[in-house]
């Protein structure tokens, strides 16, 4: 059984995005993702092709219509609750710490980020 492949050329609009090595490194830094040198060429290729594809959005004609930005689709606004403590959903300190790698006297131990000076 043959599976159809999309033709990326026809799916891409006028905008073509080509990321540089510097771009990929910057994105990884912003996202706090460790990046190995050897993976950079693949990311350049894959991320550029995805971004070229989604860039076609900029060609969608929405001029003349004032469009709201949709971030929420069911029309809810400002859902509030009473500012009271709900003990039924409280976790014990032991439960909260149960998945931490290291704890000390009820606190989670984290790697030191400040110099000792």
């Amino acid at each position: 059984m043959k599976r159809i492949r999309y033709n990326l050329y026809t799916m891409t609009g006028n905008t073509s995005v080509t990321l540089s090595e510097k771009d990929v490194k910057k994105i990884a830094t912003l996202a706090k993702l460790p990046l190995e040198e050897k993976d950079i060429p693949l990311y350049i290729l894959q991320l550029s092709s995805i971004l070229s594809f989604v860039s076609k959005l900029q060609d969608v004609k929405s001029d003349g219509i004032s469009l709201r930005s949709t971030s929420q689709v069911t029309g809810l606004t400002n859902v509030f609750r009473e500012d009271i403590i709900d003990t039924s959903r409280m976790l014990s300190q032991e439960e909260v710490l149960s998945n931490a790698h290291a704890a000390h006297e009820g606190f989670i131990l984290v790697p030191q980020i400040l110099a000792k000076e």
Binding site: R5, Y43, L47, T70, T74
Partner: protein, 475 residues
């Protein structure tokens, strides 16, 4: 007795008549897990036998009155389960054990369901084949060489192979509907906010919804009547009344008076997927449509010209929300560090980070949110003149495991029929529509927000006529 031959409806009937016990049901499910789990890679965690039999005994003593009394279910591994490991299919959460149950899990347990295990899935629900799991791909129940469909891959295969009678999944861009259709099941993507997401690991919060997979429409309606409704712990749950879904099943004598919208954009057949659906699916899709007509429904052509743009919109908004939601994984309070993310999670985090970064935000994110409005408006307009919209689920049937893993773009493009529904927050049901060779094929019916009862009524008529669910996998 093999649980694979049963539905929730038939199992409950037998248990209530004293012809079957909850213990027998669990033992049969465990037998199937023992037989098939290694081959198909379905469940990441199985609850220990002693505790399952203990739960079954408890049900036997208290009787089978509860709506899901003694029914073995499987949960996608995104659903927090108190004391049971929850991995999201990712090495990041390889040994994470939640301290509380998700609202849905709590509701299912209160209704008498027995959680038998946690299902494999694409890591953090990123994928449409199941191949992006950090714990290996899940195979289709209908052919071990083929993918299960994703991202709720194990959830679907578990039902088809008789490891349970129903399962939960999540659907952000088709993740319930695709695996359901690849495994001959009924898959629900409910209206955004119909089912609580409290305690479920988030993918893209403006799109995520919790769905169910079952063999029949009745079983699906029964499950939703347990899980639907307001949850004070999830502020996005809707205030709308929860209708009686089981009663709605018999609310239509025929489909006379029902108008089904068909968009040419959804039914174009072409050699390239850019041109439409794989010709191999044409016959099943047309036959499914003919079933609706034979039941009295009227077909009306509608216009959804921004379908392709919906896909691009999705692949801006979804990674943006993913990059934000996955920002919490720092390996300090729980889980492993960010170096434990798999390739697809990294790609999505990076695309989202780029789309939200200074200088690109307006061009990508803001534009996508505006096009999302166009997609919503197009559906609103369509629903002025039709009751439901008919569409395929995936442009092609299940693929061979490993065939497309190096080609993320072509996998993204196969979501074209499913993502518009999530962008507009609509309800949709995927239904079995026959087979290509041994591989199941599905269609979906899409309804307005909060119209699950209507979808079940229409699906029930279709199912009575087709009865595809009776054809189990050849094992």
């Amino acid at each position: 007795m093999n649980i694979r031959e049963l539905t929730i409806e038939t199992a409950l009937k037998r248990m209530r008549a004293g012809a079957l016990s909850a213990t027998e049901l669990i033992l049969s499910a465990l037998e199937n897990i023992e037989k098939y789990n290694k081959i198909y890679n379905v469940l990441l965690t199985v609850v220990d036998k002693e505790s399952l039999l203990g739960e079954a005994k408890k049900i036997e003593t208290s009787g089978y009155d509860k709506p899901l009394a003694g029914i073995p279910i499987v949960l996608k591994d995104l659903f927090s389960t108190k004391g049971i490991r929850t991995t999201a299919g990712s090495k990041v959460l390889k040994s994470y054990v939640p301290s509380y149950d998700a609202t849905v899990v709590k509701k299912l347990r209160e209704a008498g369901a027995i959680v038998i295990g946690k299902a494999n899935q694409d890591a953090f629900a990123h994928g449409s084949t199941g191949e992006n799991s950090d714990f290996g791909s899940t195979s289709s129940a209908y052919d071990v060489k083929y993918v299960a469909g994703g991202s709720s891959s194990g959830s679907a295969v578990a039902v088809a192979l008789g490891m349970c009678l129903a399962s939960t999944g999540t659907d952000t861009g088709g993740s319930v509907r695709v695996p359901a259709s690849f495994n001959n099941l009924v898959g629900l993507k409910p209206t955004y906010g119909r089912v609580s997401r409290y305690g479920i690991i988030a993918m893209a919060s403006s799109l995520d919804s919790v769905g169910h997979m079952t063999k029949t429409v009745y079983d699906n309606a029964l499950l939703l009547s347990v899980t639907a409704g307001i949850d004070p712990y999830d502020a996005t749950t809707g205030l709308q009344r929860v209708p009686d879904y089981l009663a709605s099943l018999s609310s239509l004598k025929s489909l006379k008076g029902i108008t089904i919208g068909v968009s040419p954009e959804y039914l174009v057949v072409g050699k390239k997927v850019t041109d439409g659906m794989n010709p191999i699916l044409e016959k099943q899709t047309e036959e499914a449509l003919a079933v609706f007509t034979s039941l009295g429904a009227t077909i009306k052509e509608i216009d959804l010209p921004h379908t392709k743009d919906a896909l691009e919109t999705y692949y801006v908004l979804c990674p943006s929300e993913v990059s934000s939601n996955l920002g919490r994984y720092d390996g300090i309070r729980y889980g492993k560090g960010r170096d434990a993310f798999g390739l697809e999670a990294r790609r999505r985090i990076m695309i989202g980070t780029y789309a939200l970064s200074a200088g690109y935000y307006d061009a990508y994110y803001t534009t996508a949110q505006k096009v999302r409005s166009i997609v919503c408006q197009e559906f609103e307009k369509a629903f002025e003149s039709v009751d439901i919209v008919f569409a395929p689920v995936s442009p092609s049937p299940s693929s061979i495991v490993g065939e497309l893993v190096d080609d993320p773009m072509s996998l993204y493009l196969s979501d074209i029929y499913t993502v518009p529904v999530n962008l507009a927050g609509l309800a949709a049901l995927s239904l079995p529509a026959g087979f290509v060779g041994n591989l199941p094929v599905g269609i979906q019916i899409i309804g307005k927000q909060w119209s699950e009862d209507r979808l079940y009524a229409i699906a029930s008529s279709y199912e009575k006529k087709t009865e595809w669910y009776k054809k189990g996998p050849i094992l």
